[in-house]
């Protein structure tokens, strides 16, 4: 059976990347990953008795990231006060498009971001995503749909036509 150290050595980088996408910040990602691994470490004997500990750790990562992002959101409300809507940008090049998408992903509400990361980065099914987030499949579908719609809005409908044609 895999030891905790072996698990971290094998999956640490992958989990760090997940944490980074879920948090939107490299520094926060390290903190979230440590928190998640610490919790897994505490329960390692029980986890090992089951099968793969990764879904458990993944679940802690996304939920911790969501929780922290919500707290940050409150703080950001006070000093800014800017309107939530952002005008669509005219983005055409692939590199710039991906940069805009990255920024757009970070700007999404935490749960929407987590859904998109689990669905399109971790390639989880809707059911697996729902299980990781502790919500219904319907919520996953609607959050994914809203998240993608916001990204589309952000980069402009014209761009999507371009990328579809490409």
């Amino acid at each position: 059976m895999e030891t905790f150290a072996e698990f971290v050595a094998a999956r640490g980088t992958s989990l760090l990347r997940l944490a980074h996408l879920a948090c939107g910040s490299p520094h926060e990602a390290e903190d979230v990953l440590q928190t998640a691994l610490e919790r897994a470490y505490r329960h390692w004997s029980r986890l090992r008795a089951g099968s793969d500990p990764e879904p458990y750790v993944r679940r802690i990562i996304v939920n911790t990231a969501i929780s922290r992002a919500r707290r940050r959101a409150i703080l950001s409300i006070i000093p800014t006060g800017t309107l939530p809507e952002t005008a669509a940008r005219n983005v055409t090049s692939g590199v710039e498009l991906r940069q805009v998408l990255g920024a757009g992903l970070r700007a999404l509400p935490p749960r929407q971001r987590a859904v998109l990361v689990l669905r399109f980065w971790e390639d989880l099914t809707e059911a697996q995503t729902a299980q990781a987030l502790g919500c219904s499949v319907g919520t996953v579908k609607s959050q994914a749909s809203k998240g993608l719609a916001r990204l589309r809005l952000l980069i402009g409908a014209d761009v999507m036509e371009v990328t579809r044609d490409a």
Binding site: F4, A5, V8, A9, G12, T13, L15, L16, R17, H20, L21, P26, A29, E30, L33, Q34, T35, L37, E38, Y41, R42, I66, S67, R70, R71, R72, A73, I74, L75, I77, I78, P79, T80, G81, T82, L83, G94, L97, R98, Q99, L101, G102, L105, P109, R111, L116, V117, F120, W121, G134, L148, L151, R152, M160, T163, R164
Partner: protein, 418 residues
């Protein structure tokens, strides 16, 4: 495709990231440190053990009609369908077929008398309307309440099921008109109007927007993070700069606005921020915020009115408040020896906790005079969603010998309307 580009974006963004070589050591050290200081997260389990949470949607009236016309300073967010055109009527009123709304201002109020129900409310029962004290006629067709000092409203509807919805959707212009999380917002500049209320997962909020960046934002945070102001700021406000303590609150002035953070009660912190050119109104807005008045009757459990209890439950037990991360629960019980008991619990806070309260049991639909109520039955308890915009779930439990009374009690509980 967007999904493809999104994957590529994620891959680009994380390509250079690798886990630190000493990650395992750091985690082990962290675990040892935390083991020494860990106290509990136990409240969460206690909350779930409290019994049921459950969720029923009772939608607020939709602003489908937004009629404003002959009645000065009054508009309607909801009117029943098929009313036709309003007609004039005697006094300060507006009438449709089957619905009449009359307002009374200072002089007229004195004529009515302010100490008791007016004579046109037959067999009046005391009720809370829009957070105000009022009277409902026995046939459920007449409703009268004091909207504010020297300003009362009488709504008469042929269809009793529409009465509350009309009253609830009314808006009084020219003044603030909102009650939120136990606070009455007494003053807001005319330049802002309420956006759709929302309850993000973890706190609840009201936002009022106006032109040219005018904004008022009020946030309520519940739970163990909000037991003291210092704890709240430690957990939620670490990045807030420029906060200064002033009496029982913290104040902040930032570019483009001002903010106030205060502890309303143990487990409930409010954050008010005023942005843009209306920031000069900040102090007036703060002064206008007052705690929602407690009413002596009917019984109220954290704002949830209890209009019916089986006779003989004479012993009323002190409210208890449970606080967890992002949630709170207020419980009140009425008992009669040796075993008869009714308990009403109001759960407020983060959506995920309310979801846990609602989990389990069986869906039931109750018919109350105020309309249909969807509840979940969990043994000798019933739970329902009280309000979405302030994330409230109500649970009612009875001792087994009162289980035949449960539906009636639940049907006659009333979550805060505003």
């Amino acid at each position: 495709m967007l999904e493809h580009e999104l994957r590529a974006s994620m891959a680009e963004e994380t390509a250079s990231l690798t886990a630190a070589p000493d990650l395992v050591d750091r985690v082990v050290r962290l675990s040892r440190r935390r083991r020494r200081t860990r106290v509990g997260a136990v409240l969460v389990a206690a909350a779930v053990a409290l019994g049921g949470f459950f969720v029923v949607d009772r939608e607020t009236p939709v602003a489908a009609t937004a009629y404003s016309g002959e009645l000065p300073d009054v508009s309607f967010g909801y009117l029943p369908p098929g009313l036709g055109k309003p007609s004039k009527c005697e006094g300060t009123c507006v009438a449709w077929k089957g619905l009449k709304v009359t307002t009374f201002r200072s002089g007229e109020m004195e004529a009515l008398g302010t100490t008791g129900p007016p004579s046109f409310i037959r067999d009046p029962q005391r009720v809370i309307v829009r957070g105000r004290s009022g009277f409902l006629s026995a046939d459920g067709r007449d409703l009268f309440w004091a909207e504010r000092d020297k300003w009362a409203v009488w709504v008469r509807a042929d269809d009793p099921t529409q009465l509350l919805a009309v009253a609830r959707g009314m808006r009084f212009t020219g003044v603030a008109d909102d009650v939120f999380e136990g606070l009455r917002i007494g003053y807001l500049p005319d330049a802002v109007s309420l956006l759709s209320p929302s309850a993000p997962d973890g706190w609840t909020e009201r936002r009022w927007w106006g032109e040219n960046g005018a904004q008022v934002h009020l946030i309520a945070v519940r739970g163990s993070d909000a037991t003291t102001l210092d704890r709240f700021l430690q957990e939620w406000g670490g990045r807030l700069s420029g906060l200064r303590r002033e009496g029982e609150a913290y104040l902040a002035t930032f570019e483009g606005g001002r903010a106030r953070v205060w502890l309303q009660q143990r487990g409930l912190v409010f954050v008010l921020s005023v942005h843009g050119w209306i920031r000069t109104e900040f102090e007036r807005i703060v002064a206008g915020i007052t705690p929602f008045a407690e009413f002596p009757w009917p019984d109220s459990v954290d704002g949830v009115e209890v209009h019916y209890l089986p006779p003989g439950l004479d012993e009323k037990h002190t409210q208890t408040t449970e606080l967890g991360e992002g949630w709170s629960a207020v419980r009140q019980a009425w008992t009669s020896p040796p075993s008869r008991a009714v308990a009403v619990i109001a759960y407020r806070g983060a959506e995920r906790w309310l979801g846990k309260v609602m989990a389990g049991g069986k869906d039931v639909v109750l018919d109350a005079r105020t309309g249909r109520r969807e509840v979940r039955r969990q043994g000798d308890c019933m739970v329902y969603r009280g309000r979405n915009d302030i994330a409230l779930v109500v649970k009612v439990c009875v001792s087994h010998d009162l289980s035949d009374q449960l539906e009636r009690i639940v049907a006659q509980t009333q979550p805060p309307w505003r």
